[in-house]
Symmetry: C2
Subunit: 330 residues, 2 copies
DNA sequence: GTCGTATCGCGAAACGTTTCGCTTGATTGA
DNA sequence: TCAATCAAGCGAAACGTTTCGCGATACGAC
């Protein structure tokens, strides 16, 4: 492995000149050619470790998410990565598998790795956790919260407008004449789940309809819980005439349950799902779904982070809410 | 951010003594206490960049996979990470989103990041690609191929026994009296898809039955292709009486198509899927599936890598094949 | 009392960069 | 022609570690 020193030796120039040129500085044309030749011939590659040690920058951002196996998360990540790459940043991804211990450990890991910034989709982390991890690390690097906020934690945050997305979905069902709508949501500690529940309740309030608590089923955003809770909803003596399932995995479970019971969507029961366009396109008749602005969310999280990493802290903390839209419903 | 130098100053000891102690060396008990106190009070954290620069080790392995959104891949990754963590290694994960350009770029990135080893699930990478990337990086770090091999590339490799898994699945259908079995496979450039096709054909050969090429549908391992190809199979004038879908995403698509056509599994058509136990448990009656030994695969890939990173190159190159099993079939 | 040995600690060099301030020689303008 | 300006290159220090070999001290054995 050859170093900048070898290039210097080869060209007869000094180390600092090589470094300068390699970082975009000006050198004589003849030297430029000479250096290029040396780099090529010696197969010189800059040692990022050494560079980062000196500059205190790694040009790398850490992305921390609850699980790698969620289509929603991984789509967002793809968008983030693309935006970052275009700006010369690479990213390292960590999933913590819904494990609160790992959530903290991985955050530490990223900090230890000297990433220049972090995008986090939090799950169980509290403001205290965050503060203590960030404090003990001693670094002051920008952090963006994505998709979910953390109570009492001040920080740039990029969210979907969950309340109104949920509101519109439920309202569309009400408008069609449904009075009793089942909803399957995630755990209320997660802000998205909390907000989607709010949206649901708000419709009932606004339309002066009685909301029945037993129509609100709290799952854990997993396929299994969607399956089970859908069955629970239908197993009551007076089942709802419509069901709203508020994330992709649970929707998959719910559809599976429906198929298994021989219940047709939407002829036997009205249904609104969440998140996955492809699936809903594939199914015929198509399933109504709430589509989150994944691209926008990923892109703006990345852009804000880039801005912060540049040192631009204007209008901090930023809180962005992107609109979701309802597909196949007017 | 305090450094080892601060700790030295605080304790009155020398830098080298601190370093020695921090790395498990022996120092006087009183000094031990003193150092611990200093570390605590100063909030000292070792700078991994500096350490790695000096030691040429990062205690980090790179994991490179085609996509983050596949349940199969992300499960394997979880296992790998667990094994590595137990051995003091962390990992950085890169997905290349099925994009051949990114596949190479990310491999370079990992090398640039000075990971100590790599686990790769290749997609389009050729032996030439691999050689050139590895060569230009100039480093000689261990690389493990997982799930799929690369033609003409000698390397430790951990695979599932795709041929016999496919063989058993198809054979079980034949045994039940099916003569015409449709199979939906992936692109033949990917070794798993190639092998699963082999297994299918071999059964027909061994049972002296005529194999019909039009029953072999080549997709791209995506949900959409599963959906489409299942429909294609059933849209022929003489549809097969059984269908074998050889990965998870395509299975999802195929099931969706079946539901949509009102075709019941398994009463209307026999069906064997792949990979996801949870789903098959949820569906009632359960779907027959081929279950790959994900845990074993992940674990042994990690273990081999650990061994190689220790410098133990005994019986190189290793080629492991783990058996899959057929669920819900005798 | 001396030698050998074991233990603990230290200084200095090294890892591969970047960066600051300086030198040098050339160019410019009046 | 002379000072002023400027571009290009250089040397050295610094980033925060690890590691090697050496010195000092202490101790037991002879």
């Amino acid at each position: 492995m050859s170093t900048i020193k070898d290039v210097a030796k080869y060209t007869g120039l000094s180390i600092s000149t090589i470094s300068k040129y390699l970082n975009g500085g000006n050198v004589l044309k003849e030297n430029r050619i000479l250096i290029d030749e040396a780099v090529e011939k010696l197969g010189y590659k800059v040692n990022h470790l050494a560079r980062s040690l000196k500059t205190n920058k790694t040009k790398t951002v850490g992305i921390l998410i609850p699980s790698l196996s969620s289509a929603f998360f991984s789509h967002i990540i793809a968008v983030i990565e693309e935006t970052l790459i275009q700006n010369g940043y690479d990213s390292v991804i960590c999933g913590f598998n819904f494990d609160p211990k790992l959530e903290i450990r991985k955050l530490r890991f990223l900090l230890d790795k000297n990433v220049d910034g972090i995008i986090l989709i939090p799950e169980r982390l509290s403001a205290d956790d965050l503060n203590s991890v960030l404090k003990v690390s001693g670094k002051q690097i920008p952090l963006i919260l994505l998709d979910r906020y953390v109570n009492d934690f001040e920080c740039d945050t990029v969210l979907a407008d969950n309340i109104n997305a949920s509101y519109s979905a439920v309202e569309s069902l009400i408008t069609k004449g449904h009075k009793r709508i089942g909803i399957i949501v995630g755990p209320p500690e997660i802000s998205t789940a909390y907000e989607r529940t709010i949206g649901y309740k708000r419709v009932y309030q606004d339309y002066s309809l009685p909301a029945e608590e037993q129509l609100i089923k709290v799952g854990d955003y997993s396929l299994e819980s969607g399956y089970q809770l859908f069955n629970e909803l239908l197993d009551t003596e007076d089942p709802p005439s419509a069901v709203f399932v508020t994330n992709y995995d649970m929707m998959l479970g719910a559809i599976t349950a429906a198929n298994e019971r021989g219940i047709k969507i939407p002829s036997d029961i009205s249904f609104i799902g969440y998140d996955n366009i492809e699936l809903s396109l594939i199914i015929n008749p198509p399933i109504n779904i709430v589509v989150q602005p994944m691209d926008l969310m990923g892109e703006s999280a990345a852009k804000i982070l880039l801005k912060r990493m540049k040192g631009d802290y204007s209008s901090y903390p930023l809180m962005l809410r992107h609109k979701s839209r309802l597909l196949f419903e007017k």
